[in-house]
Subunit: 466 residues, 2 copies
């Protein structure tokens, strides 16, 4: 008998009368007085469970079927028939039900068929994918990740897996995780008494990467269009709902491109991703919009249908100053925009996604390209209603003399960056790219408020289960 997934059984591709085997986990069981049991069976392949109807004529009805509860695994064989209930077209008339796995002590099984708090579910991360919500989040996350790779592949980009462990010194060294095989109980010392990193695994200090951008630039200046999609790390001890110590980043980098090109790429990219979710995961989005965030569908539809607005940073400052709104943080040329300013710009002032461009040079990173005004760099942030900043990007400083001056200005020693300087010595071209935190995107699409719910296994400083 053909094995089909619940998704295949409910897809409409199989006609009533088809004999199938369906395997999965019981959500709920309800018994009728007429001697029928109605079992909601899920296998994770789609949001909806399939209804399995088991009659008391099954040989193991009293001994097994009537003991099935939430979480039990079964293999059901039978015939697909038109459903009597509303909502679903087909259900499975069971001719045989085999129990693959029982639930020990069902009273204490953590995943009961009722709503659980997100806090509680973080404590049972290995079981939470069995809930409606985390099944939906997992499928949406998958759909987004596939769309990321597909978008870049279709547009001629090559995936580059930049190093995770890096010995390159980076900006913001205070937020780095060290990677080491030294014995912490007995750290080797040099004669001068310093830690002897020559005896560490890589022969020097090594850290987890905070970004693949600098590394991927080298590939950009050979392959023209490239991207990273991999984990990055920040040892920020800020236990907030918006930060993760470990998160996945997407960083495209394009040769012969300027800030406008990359602003356009941001728009095309985000719209492509959201269209993919709208096309492929409407089942999960419906659940999210009913139970989690009522605008989950409409805000994606709005997003893909409306053009982004582009505003110069200087104009944004003027608009904010003349807004009449009393902001908590000061608004002044030379200061960075705060979340309250960004949200007001995109949600209230424009009502659509906004790209703010050309920020003051002193508040942006050393590798960003100085504009002709000498005061701003070709940097941009993409702000979106309901989330604020979602993408940060820039044209890179491709002129060696300008780069050297900026490195000196930021107190960065060129010693570690000879290879990066080389890229400006040998066939340098204008190039630009952006960075996008994947989990922020998942939160936005799945209506999640806490970023720990966008990863399979949440960890927090001081509380790490896995």
């Amino acid at each position: 008998m053909t094995v089909v997934s619940v998704e295949q059984a409910l897809s409409g591709d199989l006609s009533p009368g088809t004999q199938v085997t369906i395997r999965g986990w019981v959500r709920t069981r309800r018994d009728s007085k007429a001697g029928l049991s109605f079992i909601n069976l899920t296998d994770g392949s789609c949001f909806d469970p399939i209804q399995v109807v088991a009659a008391n004529t099954l040989p193991n009805y009293a001994e097994a079927v009537q003991h099935l509860g939430s979480g039990c695994a079964i293999i059901a064989r039978g015939t697909l028939v038109a459903s009597q209930g509303k909502g679903q077209s087909l259900e499975l008339q069971a001719e045989q039900i085999e129990v693959a796995g029982w639930v020990d002590d069902p009273e204490t099984y953590p995943i009961q068929p009722k709503p659980h708090s997100l806090e509680f579910l973080r404590e049972v991360a290995h079981l939470r994918p069995r809930t409606n919500l985390f099944g939906a989040v997992t499928r949406i996350r998958h759909c987004l990740a596939q769309a990321v790779h597909r978008f870049f592949d279709e547009n001629g980009y090559y995936w580059i897996n930049t190093p995770i462990v890096t010995t390159s010194d980076a900006e913001g060294a205070g937020q780095l995780f060290r990677v080491s095989t030294l014995d912490l109980a007995n750290v080797p010392r040099t004669e001068a008494g310093d830690v002897d990193f020559k005896r560490d695994f890589f022969g020097k200090e090594a850290f987890l990467t905070v970004s693949g951008q600098l590394n991927v630039e080298a590939y950009c200046l050979a392959m023209s269009k490239v991207y990273t999609f991999g984990p990055t790390f920040r040892a920020e001890n800020s236990n907030t709902a918006r930060h993760l110590a470990e998160f996945w980043m997407i960083e495209p980098e394009v040769a012969f491109a300027d800030l406008d090109d990359i602003a356009q790429l941001s728009e095309d990219f985000l719209k492509y991703l959201f269209r993919a979710v709208l096309n492929e995961r409407m089942d999960d989005l419906k659940f999210i919009s009913e139970r989690v965030e009522k605008n989950a569908i409409s805000r994606l539809e709005d997003f893909v249908s409306m053009p982004f607005e582009r505003i110069d940073y200087g104009d944004a400052i003027e608009i904010l100053r003349n807004s009449g709104v009393k902001f908590e943080f000061p608004v002044e040329w030379g200061l960075d925009l705060q979340t309250e300013h960004e949200r007001w710009l995109t949600e209230t002032h424009v009502g659509r996604p906004v790209v703010v461009m050309n920020y003051p040079e002193q508040i942006k990173a050393f590798y960003m390209r100085l504009n002709d005004d000498g005061k701003t760099v070709a940097a941009m942030d993409v702000l979106a209603p309901g989330i604020g900043e979602i993408i940060g990007g820039a044209q890179r400083e491709e002129r060696l003399d300008f780069l050297d001056r900026r490195m000196a200005q930021f107190g960065i020693e060129t010693e570690h960056y000879q290879w990066y300087r080389d890229l400006r010595r040998y066939g340098t071209v204008p190039h630009a790219g952006f960075g996008l935190g994947f989990e922020r995107l998942v939160c936005y699409v799945a209506g999640l408020n806490n970023i720990r719910d966008a990863i399979p296994y949440p960890r927090t400083p001081g509380h790490a289960t896995f």
Copy 2:
């Protein structure tokens, strides 16, 4: 004027007479006595460069065009015309050539238009993607990675990004990289004098993951079909051509599946990947087969056209003992197969890929399912001509009492594995999966002997540039 990539220009989709702009880097320049310069221009989009023909009537011919050398970046505008040379259909008749970036001190530019040793190129990893070989490797690697995601997506698998930093104790703790924010110059101690990991970032010891398998099993028992594709780490101080400290692993895990199912999945999966490379990257494969590994194409074609052989481990031992071959390592029931045995089985005895199944239980990991004979576990290795072991997999022990006995036998404390035991208490089902090192696969397809050439930035213990 439309900007096109070299790939688009050479694709045959554009007719002679089309006006285009092509941007990239000069490979070589050759001047004819008739006052024409022939420039081979590459942009990384495909293996072949396009020939740009520049006449001495261009205003910057003497001052710029005649100084162009390997690595210079140019923007060429002109008309696509039928090529006079052999091999290529179209070339670009330049009407304008703009130099975007020169090469400082061309004599010392590391990437000269001549063959370089692989050792030398590892020292200039930021420039080696500009060579024919590493351009080809990068495109092949990308093609394989895309095919990995596509295969799983088309077959109903969900991508799960299991944790990179893990606080779970694992088998083989000696080969773990520690992740820490403690100050090594001043390690905090408990009153008893031990390292005080409570004061470390996660409040306990943390390491880089060696495998996502255990974590992904939890998702398998909720979503049915899942996979990981992410970085894993081994602090092995073996500086060989076959080991990396950081490498990407692919680990599918399937519910309601046994060892035969996963052997079939291995075969379907590898054939799908190799077909993708044969379909999409014949340009790069041709170069590989001409310069690196002459069987590069034919061995992939053989691979996809022939069925895998399946041999029981016990039978494999008998076959090896009766082979008449004098092996360096002993062949005996209960010992693991060595590379020489694996290579002989797949290359000489069968001449096709071989799946060896059901290994002695004492030489395989604790989580593998004990067979009914009580002596073997449902483990398998896939061996392929030219590479040896390429995939290792197993059916997992889904029975709690068997798992507990195996954990006790291997001296594994159950304390850290309560969540893993939970999976056997709550709706457990037979499940199976495999692991595949992505870089080994890239080496095989691209004909590379040293695994450091399959990653963008090679690092070795004691020599880590990036």
